[in-house]
């Protein structure tokens, strides 16, 4: 079985602070991490390989420093990594991003399963996974909390999707794309051997031409949406915090709650 995991490098959210003077994000010297949901995608790919054999790939679209997240995935046990890196990719919205990732998956060839995290922690759109599936005309299962079984002979899998009021079981023909939630597994820590291997491994870089894409199909030019303005939301006003005697505090809180209930 051939599995491709799509990951994204994101800023570590704990570090996102607003500069009160300039009203902008402060991210000086801030660490970048693998998008938290992508960790579950990587782990699931490794587990499925352990169960059903095959080969695993990790791909990311991002600037040169995004190579770090590919190496981290390799150190956990992913076999191969490919970096989709090109100046022309800058400014891509979810449409253009999913196109680039889809083209890379096509180029890898004969992929049975694509795994993505449910959404990225910086953009929060959850659009790229289904977008890739649509570009490749593949069936999708989003919010997967369990891959129950894969029948490689019949080329089908059974998955559980986490929905608002419970979960749903779907039968999906392969090749297919899944996006996963945290409940699916617990990601492993990289082994020392894995880290050594990840360090040495060469990672090919694919640019827009390698993917058969024109410059105007990607990046800002290939993106139907445009960001016209960025601003900080008004800060929350200081609240009423009660301290001291429990009964008095609760009374005060109840009278406040009565006004808004």
């Amino acid at each position: 079985m051939k599995i491709v995991v799509c990951v994204k490098q994101v800023p570590e959210t704990t570090e996102v602070k607003i500069d009160p003077k300039t009203n902008t994000l402060i991210r000086e010297g801030v660490a970048s991490i693998i998008n938290p949901f992508d960790m579950y995608a990587i782990e699931e790919a490794i587990r499925l390989k352990e169960r059903y054999n095959g080969i695993t790939y990790v791909i990311t679209m991002g600037p040169p420093q995004a190579e770090e997240v590919l190496r981290e995935a390799l150190s956990m046990g992913i076999d191969e990594a490919i970096h989709l890196c090109d100046k022309s990719f800058a400014g891509s919205d979810t449409w253009a991003t999913s196109l680039v990732l889809a083209k890379a998956i096509e180029k890898i060839k004969d992929v049975d399963l694509i795994i993505c995290g449910k959404q990225a922690s910086d953009g929060d759109t959850a659009q790229v996974g289904p977008g890739i599936a649509a570009h490749l005309n593949l069936p999708q299962a989003t919010y997967v909390r369990k891959v129950r079984e894969i029948d490689l002979e019949k080329k089908v899998m059974y998955v559980e999707r986490l929905l608002e009021g419970g979960y749903e079981v779907l039968k999906v023909e392969l090749p297919a794309l899944v996006t996963v939630v945290k409940e699916i597994n617990e990601p492993r820590l990289p082994s020392l051997r894995g880290k050594m291997r990840a360090k040495r491994q060469s990672i090919p870089i694919w640019r827009h031409k390698d993917l058969g894409l024109k410059e105007e199909e990607v990046g800002l030019k290939g993106s139907p949406t445009q960001v016209v303005k960025i601003f900080t939301p008004p800060p929350r006003t200081k609240g009423k915090i009660f301290e001291g005697d429990v009964e008095t505090c609760v009374d005060k809180l109840v009278s406040e709650l009565k006004k808004i209930l």
Binding site: T13, V16, T22, L25, R27, G29, P63, Q65, A90, G91, D93, T94, W95, S121, G123, D124, A126, G131, A133, H135, P139, Y143, Y158, L162, L163, E164, G165, G166, E168, V169, L170, K171, E173, A176, E183, L220, S223, P224, T225, Q226, V227, V228, K229, I230, T232, P233, R236, G239, K240, I241, F242, E243, V246, E247, V250, L253, L257, K258, I260, L261
Partner: protein, 401 residues
């Protein structure tokens, strides 16, 4: 167009460094008192342009190329989704917003409703704001399958050419519209908290939070139609127009639209939650401060009195006190109820990003320095084991009155 999408006008730049601080991607540095942008790192987000007081940064947006005849596109569409066999609340809310957008555009509101035996239910959509309802009935559409719904709606969009298309930012809506946007090649903006019309250009101005609500972005889709957006439940207001009627258009589709590669097998209800987190007007959440699984009862009792849903911090979920489906925060669900009551939750940023858009936040925590108090509208510093049961009792008395 210049190959570089962003440029520093050197004559204007004084090397003040405001843009360096503002850049979220560490893409700007000051070299010889001038700002230099590393295009490999730049994401063209425009933050630097906003902060530059000297207007020394220019971003070259792609020119408006009218490849499609944009004026052919008319009407504001709303995707109607079902939950437990009934029309979901978010669909009514979207119709309310669509009504307003349509009046700004002097256009009409059309609801798109797919399913089986839905004709009667569809009539309810008129009083909620719809002028027309397009229905597609087929047994295979009884259960929501993103591929089938996307195939059919993409076909309908090509046929009728709506100007705007809205859907709920629910698991259904999000899975569906991403496919449609790719199929028909148009822009899509997720999780909008504000939708307005630029009347002159007929643009839908879509405002959405990013970085967990730390910044807001305004997004447009200038060259493609329809302009597509998803909106979370509880963000827009439902309306009720008495005695309003409208037209039901029945579309018949053939079997080609049904994707045979994917089959619904079963749905298993989560018995641990009687009220759904994302639907709830009030959420009572528990965290590490509860100490052990049994103590979640305190949270459940308070939630019971308020008819609220039960939420949890990651710490409580990871300790195995409550299932993951209750987790609020970065790796759980994002919620925005009217009232969010956090008990024994310190308020790590990962939790805050999942709930800080709530209208009122109440915090109960023994540590006065806990970050949760920074976002709280009301709070009590103290022992939750004394406060929560007393609060439950008092509210019970009050609500009886």
């Amino acid at each position: 167009m210049s190959k570089e999408a962003i440029k520093i006008i050197e004559e204007k730049c004084t090397g003040c460094g405001l843009c360096v601080k503002a850049c979220s991607f560490s893409a700007i540095s000051i070299v010889k008192k001038k700002a230099v942008i590393d295009l490999e790192k730049c994401n063209l987000c425009g933050t630097c342009k906003e902060v530059c007081k000297l207007k020394a940064i220019v971003i070259f947006k792609p020119e408006v190329v009218k490849t499609k005849k944009l004026d052919e596109y008319k009407g504001v569409w709303v995707f109607v989704e079902e939950e437990d066999g009934e029309i979901a609340g978010v669909s009514y809310e979207l119709l309310g917003k669509a009504r307003q957008l349509a009046s700004d555009l002097e256009s009409e509101v059309v609801a798109v409703y797919l399913g089986f035996n839905i004709k009667e239910k569809a009539k309810r959509l008129f009083s909620k704001g719809a002028d027309k309802v397009i229905i597609v009935e087929k047994e295979e559409l009884k259960n929501f399958i993103a591929e089938n719904y996307a195939n059919i709606i993409s076909y309908l969009i090509k046929k009728y050419k709506p100007e705007i298309f809205l859907a709920g930012a629910t698991s259904q809506g999000r899975s569906l519209v991403s496919r449609i946007a790719i199929n028909i090649h148009t822009g899509l903006t997720a999780d909008c908290t504000g939708l307005d019309i630029d009347k002159e250009k007929r643009f839908l101005i879509q405002t959405r939070p990013a970085f967990g609500g730390n910044i807001m972005a305004q997004i447009i889709t200038p060259n493609f139609r329809p302009q597509m957006a998803t909106v979370r439940h509880k963000v827009m207001k439902e309306i009720e127009i008495e005695n309003k009627e409208g037209e039901i258009i029945e579309e018949v589709i053939d079997d080609n639209f049904i994707d045979k590669r994917i089959k619904f097998i079963d749905f298993i209800r989560d018995v641990t939650s009687t009220i759904d987190l994302t639907e709830a007007d009030i959420i009572v959440s528990g965290g590490r401060g509860l100490g052990k699984k049994e103590n979640f009862k305190l949270i459940e009792e308070l939630a019971g009195v308020l008819k609220a849903a039960v939420g949890a911090s990651r710490a409580a979920v990871d300790s195995g006190w409550i299932p993951y489906s209750h987790q609020v925060g970065q790796t759980g669900r994002t919620v925005a109820p009217k009232i969010y009551i956090a008990c024994g939750i310190s308020g790590q940023i990962q939790h805050l990003v999942g709930m800080q858009s709530s209208k009122f936040i109440v915090a109960i925590n023994k540590d006065p320095e806990a970050p949760i108090f920074k976002v709280a509208d009301f709070g009590i510093v103290g022992d939750l084991f004394k406060i929560v049961p007393l609060l439950t009792k008092r509210l019970k008395e009050e609500l009886k009155k």
